[in-house]
Amino acid sequence: MFYRENGQFKTSYRADQQILPILQDRIAMLVLLVVGFVIVPMLASDYIFRAILIPFLILSLAAVGVNILVGYCGQISLGSGAFMAVGAYAAYNFFVRIDGMPLILALVLGGVCAMLFGMVFGLPSLRVKGLYLAVATLAAQFFADWLFLRVQWFTNNSSSGSVSVNNLQVFGFSLESSAAKYWFCLLLLSVIALLAKNLVRGAVGREWMAIRDMDVAAAVIGIRPMFAKLSAFAVSSFIVGVSGGLWAFINLGAWEPAAFSVDQSFRLLFMVIIGGMGSIMGSFFGAAFIVILPIALSQILPAVTSALGFEISTASISHAELMVFGGLIVWFLIVEPHGLAKLWAIGKQKLRLWPFPH
């Protein structure tokens, strides 16, 4: 009823190529941004900020990065945790070794290091693909684990191998408060997600998708596989690297290599698969699913069981969490293998025809 494009005419190519071609979408996005930047910080408590919103924003960013590689270019990667780790440790080294290093520059340089690292470990993608590539990228994960555990230089010769940062500032503004951290992450996420969205809509993105859909055919029509694959690795690792820096600097404050273990790689891959392969929007859904669901379950289950008159132990909650999680993943994959983003798209499509579907 309210969501349809009748009467919205596009009279120029420019108008036809907008990210959000429907007026209602543009308004909704504007409202969403206002809510995100203004309303949420007014309402959210410290806990909501630090335990839910900030991890959600940072992992969304990581998921956008992984989605570019896995979803758009079809290069399955299990090394995302390693790219995050490289971003985090490189940013840390720039930050503590160079006096007066601005935080944003350190994060970006961390991203650049992750980009180079990702391109090196993306080289096998020129020869192998699919499951074989996934295993090859696993090497990146193990290499990073080894590197940051073993080479003391990267941890500024910290004897325990754990490093930490404090007194974070951006242009003189302190990033101590939860709201400031949230704004900073949201701002970075908005900018990078917008750039990523435009990238995948453009020529480069179409090359990636061509490679994903059928690399031989793509090569025949003149797409250079080497350029497409390596550029996907580069862009993806850069974004994942920046998110790794944020995860370490903003979310954890102090971290050890275990924070970027292979588990993290798997979680990122799940986010992309559940959220929706080949969709920027899907990355957000996936991150929300993975971050919020376990916390929500751990809060809701005790309330439900106490309402039913018995108490549930912490261990059972944690086991139930895993079971519900596993069940939901299986259910999602069967019902909608294209992820939450596809459900969202179907919902939108139905709304456009509502109330007279044909």
């Binding site: 503590v96 684990d145 500024n156 930490s164 102090a254 912490t314 261990a315």
Partner: protein, 443 residues
């Protein structure tokens, strides 16, 4: 339609239930809240569970026996971390804002590192009994950290002293080969600087063999041990790593009586599966085990006999269970001490509990009153020393139970103190922070 109605009413119940729970928490202000971070799942669960049970049972016992701390009821909530840093941070953020929050025991070295950066702003003390950051002993640099009763540095030093004693003098260690088999994480790496310092002084040959977390795969490490034939192996493991190491040692034929574990490698879950194969293996003992101490008897009487125990009854009094009890006992005593200054029968804030932790003075008489006679040594903290005691003993597994040796060892201050000072200074310099003023001590 029916299904929808059902879902809607279920959602309603959940919302009402959770808001009720939230309301009741806010309504009762006269309660001291103890957040209980724990892990009952994952590779470290066998060791994490008795520890968590001990922590919880002690609080239940205090409520049942004494009606709380000078009349202030204790409430608690457990939060599962799975030993993962990000989950631990989430738990911390969730529980730190509850009214009357007293202190945190993160129960993991990795989480301790992350929280160390956060407690300064939130003004909640962190107690890390026998683990955590060794340099945090320096209370003038780390205002909110309390590595009570020992750190990995004191532990490593005590082990070297014990080896020296066995050999007939520390100077006899010269030329000996001592190998550290360690969990490849901050937890396992912490003792290395001290062992290196000791190796330099005493002239023994220190070998370092890391074991990837969680420590199930140690074949390569023990091949190396077999190749080098060290005179002693120091085992710095946790959870499943310990029993695996003992099994591997058995398979490689490395004598177990030359293996010495840290106090986190000296509990029942570590050796039970190995049984006879672990015979002769020794580890540090921060505390005794068994059901004889009065505090354990009280827990059995007031909690378990009433059917309110947290875990199985047979487990009460095991090594890690007792350690959980001690951790919580010290926490409760810190609140009690704080009440002596800031008002009895009141709920203490995090800052006030910190003062209490900084002024703990538990002599033999007080320990007896707590029912901890013979379980631990007297402990007294100060503004400069957040550890309070660095004593420990060595215990040996005889195939069925741990036998605690008679000798108490104290870590060598002359070695530890300068190292703590240097480490704390480096930390402060890295963070561009300054030492606390003397006047800050009474705050």
């Amino acid at each position: 339609m029916k299904l929808h109605a059902l879902a809607r009413s279920a959602a309603l119940v959940v919302v009402i239930g959770s808001s009720l729970a939230a309301n009741s928490a806010f309504a009762q202000a006269k309660e001291q809240f103890f957040p209980l971070l724990s892990y009952r799942t994952g590779p470290y669960a066998p060791n994490g569970v008795p520890w968590a049970n001990g922590k919880q049972d002690y609080l239940k016992m205090i409520n049942a026996r004494d009606g709380g701390i000078n009349g202030v009821k204790i409430t608690y909530e457990e939060c599962e971390t799975g030993y993962a840093t990000d989950r631990g941070v989430e738990c911390y953020e969730r529980l730190k804002s509850k009214p009357g929050v007293a202190l945190f025991d993160p129960q993991a070295t990795g989480i301790t590192f992350a929280l160390t950066e956060k407690v300064v702003n939130d003004k909640v003390p962190l107690i890390t009994l026998g683990y955590g950051l060794s340099v945090a002993q320096d209370g003038q640099a780390f205002k909110w950290n309390f590595p009570l009763m020992g750190s990995y540095w004191t532990g490593a030093d005590i082990l070297i002293q014990h080896l020296g004693k066995k050999e007939g003098g520390l100077d006899k260690l010269k030329g000996k080969k001592i190998t550290l088999v360690y969990h490849d994480s901050p937890f396992g790496k912490e003792p290395i600087p001290l062992l290196q310092e000791r190796a330099r002084q005493l002239g023994f040959d220190l070998g370092l063999i890391p074991v990837t977390a969680p420590g199930v795969d140690q074949k390569a490490a023990w091949l190396q041990v077999r190749q080098n034939r060290p005179d002693y192996v120091l085992l710095w493991g946790w959870g499943v790593m310990n029993s695996t190491a003992l099994k591997e040692a058995q398979a490689t034929g490395y004598p177990r009586d030359k293996m010495y574990g840290v106090w986190w490698a000296g509990a029942e879950p570590d050796v039970k599966d190995v049984g006879e194969g672990a015979k002769g293996y020794s580890a540090l003992a921060l505390n005794t085990s068994g059901t004889q101490p009065k505090v354990i008897q009280d827990i059995l009487k007031y909690v378990h006999d009433k059917g309110q125990g947290t875990g199985p009854k047979e487990e009460v009094g095991s090594v890690l269970y007792t350690r959980g009890v001690i951790i919580q006992a010290l926490g409760v005593e810190a609140v009690r001490r704080a009440q002596e200054r800031f008002g009895k029968g009141k709920v203490m804030t995090g800052e006030q509990v910190r003062w209490g932790l900084e002024n703990l003075a538990l002599d033999d008489k007080k320990l007896a009153a707590l029912g901890l006679t013979g379980v631990i040594r007297p402990i007294s903290t100060s503004c400069a020393d957040h550890m309070g005691s660095t004593w420990a003993r060595v215990e040996t597994w005889d195939g069925t139970k741990w036998n605690v040796g008679a000798d108490w060892y104290q870590a060598d201050e002359q070695i530890i103190k300068p190292m703590v000072k240097v480490g704390a200074d480096k930390y402060l310099a890295d963070k561009k922070l300054t030492r606390r003023e003397a006047s800050d001590c009474q705050s």
